[in-house]
């Protein structure tokens, strides 16, 4: 079977990719996508661990992560829509006013 390390390194790379996305992109939606990437990296790590120690907990946690991700996506996208309505743009650097 594939050693755990492989999966972990893969997940690390994915995670880093996600962070890159968060910082490089000038589009809120893409930033959210990058966050999803990071979450998936974590999921992978969890499941790999679960597999290695032969317990299902990893999957359960992954399940929770997915649920949270769903919630996060819903709210995040709602925010995006609301912001877009006001500013006609998706560039996060234009949403810098702390009070409306």
């Amino acid at each position: 079977m594939v050693p755990l390390g492989h999966y972990l390194i893969l997940s690390a790379i994915l995670f880093a990719t996600g962070t890159l996305g968060v910082f490089l992109r000038r589009n809120v939606i893409t930033m959210l996508l990058s966050i999803e990437v990071m979450l998936n990296a974590v999921n992978l790590a969890f499941i790999a661990f679960g597999r290695t120690i032969g317990s299902a907990d990893g999957q359960v946690i992954m399940f929770f992560v997915v649920t949270v991700a769903a919630a996060e996506a819903a709210v995040g996208l709602a925010l995006v829509i609301a912001l877009f309505r006001h500013r006609e743009t998706l560039n996060p650097d234009t949403f810098t006013s702390l009070k409306w």
Partner: protein
């Protein structure tokens, strides 16, 4: 039951204070008088209860509630009635009631709201005074102590629109505060020494100790307490406020600054008789101060021209005499004098009040004279009062004052005795100077009086009355005043007969009545006496063992007959003094007015010195007030307040603002910046664990 004695006046205060402005004059006055009458009734009833008890066990306690309970410290809100307290509450509530009645007439020219305010203060004062005398321990007494101080401030400054009045109020308050400071320190000192605040407890604890030969803790404690007493009772050096207190309405002067409050100091010493008894040093000081005050005030009183000021100084000197009594350990005599003095001094003040009322605010005796015919009631009552205070035989003042003199003499304080005698001579002189200048002779420039009268003060009715008054017929005291005057006159004649000395067939009942209050509670007096004698034959120490014990000693001595004649001689002598004083006054102020003036101008230096009250106020002003002003302005205000405090506060604000300016930079609303900060944290933490 006791709790109702102070409670009733307090209720009256609450009523008049809360809805007074809606009450009519009559209603407000009735409320106040009823409250006092109730208080008096309850007091009388309680005293009656007290008298039912056997002399040794005379004491009624009323524990209202535990007040302060913390560790070893336990201060119950408790009232206790014992013989001493009995005398006091009777005086306070009784005379207080009469003065209330008097006031209803005297203050009649006030606006209803003012009227109600006046009576609310008066009731409040009565309440606090009763708390003071009934309090079973120092803190409760202190509450009353401070309360009466407050009320006197409020009442002196009652006509606060008049600058002099408000100033006098402040002066009284501040001076009293100084005294109270001493009193507080004394209280704490007592606590630290005996671990209790209860008077009886303190007395018991002190009873165990031997009387101090040299100056020690007890002396210090008692001395501090005495400082408080000087503040309240206007003794050197803190007497200066009392004469100015005459700015208040006359009934107030009568009640607070003659009959009751100013005697609080005396009462306090009597209350702690045992304690003071064990501190002969302090007693000496007390006697000294008392006699000095008596003499000084007497001399000043001799030349003052304001009728009320004269009375004020006479009050001071009488208080001085009381302190003399306390000082020589004749506590009973002191209280006795307090009791009689309350009657005739109140009477005199009220009389002067009647005169002022009749003359529409005129207070300068040089502008009076020949009022004998216009104001018969006032004249006669005033005359009785003067005779009583002068110590003319068979009137109350005679017995009490003579008692004090005799005690001083028999106690071996000859100098004290001598000076006191002079003081009482002076008393007779200035009192009758007052009488003669006010009521005899002819009315000096009567029309001059009311432009003068209208000018100085703008209080309520003067103007209106002044017009009616003119120089024409003056009407005598209205019924309410008259009744008060007459009742008090009767009182000042008869009050003395509770204490007729044994020499002239009386059995000094009041002294025997008061006896238990000055002995160590529980411990039988004679024992204390014996032990004291055992200590040493020295008289002060003998008194120290508890005044009453000494008293008994004295009486035994009298019974032995050795100084029996001596006492009679002295009695004759002092009555002679009184008569002499009256005679002198008659000579100088009835017969040879010109001679008097010439003498005055001849000794103009002395005269001016006396007229300006030895410049004490000026000295105080220079020595104390001015420096305080200077420091307050230059240091406290300019440097500490404006510089330090404001600087700190503003600095704090400014620094916060500045820092926020800096920190605000961090709050860039940019999501990415925040994410960046988070990731920095992640990387750093992770890095730490990797490199570790």
């Amino acid at each position: 039951m006791l709790r109702f004695i102070p409670l009733l006046p307090f209720v009256g205060f609450l009523i008049n204070w809360s809805l007074g402005r809606r009450l009519s004059r009559a209603a407000a006055g009735r409320v106040a008088c009823l409250a006092m009458a109730g208080a008096f009734a309850v007091s009388a009833w309680s005293v009656w209860q007290l008298l039912q008890l056997p002399p040794e066990a005379r004491g009624i306690r009323d524990l209202v509630m535990p007040w302060v309970e913390s560790g070893a410290l336990s201060i119950p809100l408790e009232f206790r009635l014992d013989p001493l307290g009995a005398v006091m509450i009777l005086v306070v509530s009784g005379i207080g009631f009469l003065i209330h009645v008097y006031s209803t007439a005297y203050m009649h020219d006030e606006r209803p709201s003012e009227f109600a305010r006046y009576f609310s203060y008066l009731n409040l004062f009565a309440a606090f005074m009763l708390v003071l005398v009934l309090g079973a321990n120092f803190p409760v007494m202190f509450v009353g102590w401070e309360g009466v101080g407050l009320c006197s401030y409020l009442l002196i400054g009652f006509w606060f629109t008049k600058k002099s009045a408000s100033d006098a109020g402040k002066k009284a308050f501040i001076v009293n505060r100084i005294g109270d400071f001493g009193f507080l320190l004394g209280m704490f000192f007592v606590w630290s020494q005996f671990g209790t605040f209860d008077f009886q407890g303190v007395a018991r604890a002190a009873g165990q100790l031997p009387p101090e030969a040299a100056f020690g803790v007890l002396s210090l404690a008692t001395l501090l307490l005495f400082v408080g007493a000087t503040g309240k009772s206007a003794q050197i050096p803190l007497y200066v406020w009392l004469p100015d207190a005459m700015e208040g309405p006359t009934p107030v002067s009568a009640l607070i600054h003659a009959a009751t409050m100013v005697t609080a100091g005396v009462y306090m010493i009597g209350r702690n008789a045992v304690l003071f008894g064990h501190a002969p040093e302090t007693l000496g000081i007390v006697a000294g101060i008392g006699v000095a005050t008596a003499l000084m005030a007497g001399t000043i009183g001799l030349v003052q021209n304001d009728i009320k000021r004269v009375l004020a100084y006479s009050t001071v000197s009488q208080l001085g005499l009381m302190f003399v009594a306390m000082g020589v350990g004749a506590f009973a005599a002191g209280i006795f004098h307090l009791y009689t003095h309350a009657f005739f001094k109140a009477l005199l003040f009220l009389g002067s009040g009647a005169v002022i009322h009749a003359l529409h605010g005129e207070q300068d005796i040089r502008k009076m004279g020949g009022l004998r015919k216009e104001l018969p009631i006032t004249y006669w009552t005033f005359l009785i009062g003067s005779l009583a205070i002068a110590g003319v035989p068979l009137l109350s003042g005679f017995f009490s004052k003579d008692e004090i003199l005799w005690k001083a003499f028999s106690g071996g304080h000859t100098t004290v005795w001598a000076v006191s005698a002079v003081a009482s001579l002076l008393t007779a002189i200035y009192m009758f100077r007052l009488v003669f200048l006010t009521f005899h002779g002819s009315r000096a420039n009567a029309d001059a009086n009311h432009d003068h009268a209208v000018a100085p003060d703008d209080h309520g009715a003067k103007a209106g009355h002044g017009a009616a008054g003119g120089g024409g017929h003056l009407h005598d005291a209205p019924p309410a005043m008259a009744t008060a005057l007459i009742l008090l006159a009767i009182g000042s004649v008869l009050a003395g007969y509770v204490g007729v000395p044994a020499v002239i067939g009386g059995s000094n009942r009041i002294e025997q009545f008061l006896e238990p209050s000055f002995a160590v509670p529980g411990v039988e007096a004679a024992a204390g006496h014996a032990e004291a004698v055992a200590h040493d034959g020295e008289a002060v120490a003998a008194h120290a063992a508890g005044g009453e014990a000494a008293q008994v000693h004295g009486d035994e001595g009298a019974a032995a007959g050795a100084d029996h004649g001596m006492e009679l001689k002295l009695m004759a002598f002092s009555s002679g003094l009184a008569v002499a004083g009256i005679a002198i006054a008659a000579l100088f102020f009835l017969a040879w007015r010109r001679v008097t003036d010439r003498i005055a101008s001849a000794f103009s230096l002395v005269h001016r010195l006396l007229l300006n009250k030895y410049y004490v106020d000026e000295i105080y002003g220079f020595v104390i007030v001015r420096p305080i002003h200077w420091i307050s302005e230059r240091v406290l205000w300019k440097v500490v307040d404006a510089g330090l405090i404001d600087g700190t506060v503003n600095g704090a604000g400014a620094s916060i603002a500045g820092w926020s300016d800096v920190l605000r930079r961090l709050q860039t609303g940019s999501v990415r910046a925040y994410a960046l900060s988070i990731f920095v944290g992640v990387v750093v933490i992770l890095g730490y664990y990797v490199w570790r």
